[in-house]
């Protein structure tokens, strides 16, 4: 007993520290089990794609796939661009100017996934219902997007997402 009296550190302290370390090590070892569920290397490797825009005429749309999601590419008419520019920003639930969304006003390129719960909005095909704002309309829960893909009405909180785009040539882009 004599030697324990000389020190503030007791055997019990050692037990506490040892138990705490053991618990911490166990907690760290859980991380790989959780992280394995995140997107793996092969999924991340598919994260860029190149698209040739030549076949799309004015007023037409094209849908391509990027990271498993549809990308809406629309070559807008002058009227649609005018409509998008005319909207005052204070009217928008998610204010964003048209110029921020379309680098070249004629080409509007967006991820075609409704920002509410992930359905694919209608409006790419000719006969599709295009909603109250002449853009896109999500049939799942009734979100209306305008000609710049901005949310105007319905439960979706945000505009259709504009992916990172780089113009490689006049009519060739890389997404991602």
């Amino acid at each position: 007993m004599a030697h324990t009296d000389q020190s503030d550190t007791t055997r019990r302290d050692f037990l506490y520290i040892a138990t705490g370390s053991f618990a911490a090590a166990t907690a760290f070892s859980i991380w790989p089990l959780i992280d394995q569920m995140n997107p793996d290397a092969s999924v991340l490797a598919l994260s860029s794609t190149e698209v040739d825009l030549t076949p799309v005429e004015v007023g037409q749309s094209m849908t391509v796939k990027w990271r498993g999601s549809p990308i809406f590419i629309r070559r807008r008419t002058a009227e649609e661009i005018k409509e998008a520019l005319a909207v005052p920003l204070e009217d928008l639930p998610d204010p964003e100017a048209d110029s921020e969304r379309a680098e070249k006003p004629e080409w509007l390129i967006m991820v075609g996934v409704c920002t509410h719960l992930g359905c694919i909005p209608k409006g790419q095909k000719l006969g599709d219902e295009r909603g109250d704002y002449n853009g896109w309309f999500c049939p799942c829960h009734g979100s209306h997007y305008d000609t710049a893909g901005r949310i105007r009405k319905g439960p979706a909180p945000l505009n259709l997402v504009v992916p990172p785009i780089e113009y490689l040539e006049e009519t060739k882009i890389r997404i991602g």
Binding site: M37, N38, G68, P139, H141
Partner: protein
Amino acid sequence: MSGQSTYQPTSAVGKWFESRLPVMGLVHDTMLNFPTPKNLNYWWTFGGILATFLVLQIITGIVLAMQYTPHVDFAFESVEKIMRDVNYGWLLRYAHANGASMFFLAVYIHIFRGLYYGSYKQPRELLWIIGVIIYLVMMATAFMGYLLPWGQMSFWGATVITNFFSAFPIVGDPIVEWLRGGFVVGNPTLNRFFSLHYLTPFILVGLVGLHVWALHVPGNANPTGVEVKSVKDDTVPFHPYYTLKDSFAIVVFMILFLWFVFFAPNFLGEVDNYIKANPLVTPAHIVPEWYFLPFYAILRAVPDKLGGVLLMFASIGVLFILPWLDTSKVKSATFRPLYKQFFFIFVAVSIGLGYLGGKPAEGGYILAARILTAYYFAHFLIIMPILGLIEKPKKLPESIAKAVLDKNGDDPGGGGAPAEAVTAPETKG
């Protein structure tokens, strides 16, 4: 009602075994000799029905897993192969799919039984809470199982539901990608859902064990809501009285189940799920399976994304605190004239929400869904606390035995309990 085991093994082998592992005593005390109120009506048989369906789902699920391929290129085809090529594959798959529906039908009856007779009240709060957890795990199991056939509704249902988590700021999108194992629902999602769909039923088995354990401490509630006062007068042994009553109810319920399996196997399903999943085309009208419709209606009733998601989770979350929201000391609605009326309004509101969940989210349907959603929450948060304070309950019978004897007319002197009040729970059966 737990205590020393009354089990007395008679054979030498039985004695040898029991002194080393008293499992026969456990079975004897919990499933055979367990003292059970003598007045339980048929609404009390749904616990046994649910246990039966849990076992049935596990059995059909294990054999279906022998034939199914959890890969996006083969899942849909392997289900069709089960339907066309595998011996009795059609029967196993229809039994599993309709078994899930029957499981939910039974659990809803079981929950409403608890609501009507105040089964969640002291001393059974924990029993009730474990039940709500069971219900949540059931929902997760059904949701993950629905992705496996890899049809259009499978795919888009999983897309929409995993997207719920994107409503949360900052952590939302990383959580969604973590759940899916990709940017969209894909092969990693299908694989993990298959793995977890195989796991969760066994978690359910464990939870059901806790549920039964928590039941066997205070014992069963009963239609009068009066607790057992004398084991001798008020109870009968579980076997043979309730083993037989439960068995009969299970057989009757099976008739309904097998009618669906053999005569209307796709009635409760969605035709769109016989179209293979296409990540580029959303079906015009996405609806979940019928048992999720009321919650879907609540989700869509709110014009705000995060608000809708939170309210939907809250609609089940409120059940956890129900034992403390109900201020009435009287358990059974039979003796609560006001609560009884509000109970049936609540049943109608829940069914109404289910109806609206299956309709498109537009115009009058949204308005109606908003009104019913508001009422759903008002029922728990406003009506239940106030009712207990203002309601004058009817006179309770002195004991279960007294109530039973009065009803049978064996005691013309009467216990002072109104005859109508005592008979009502029985006619519910």
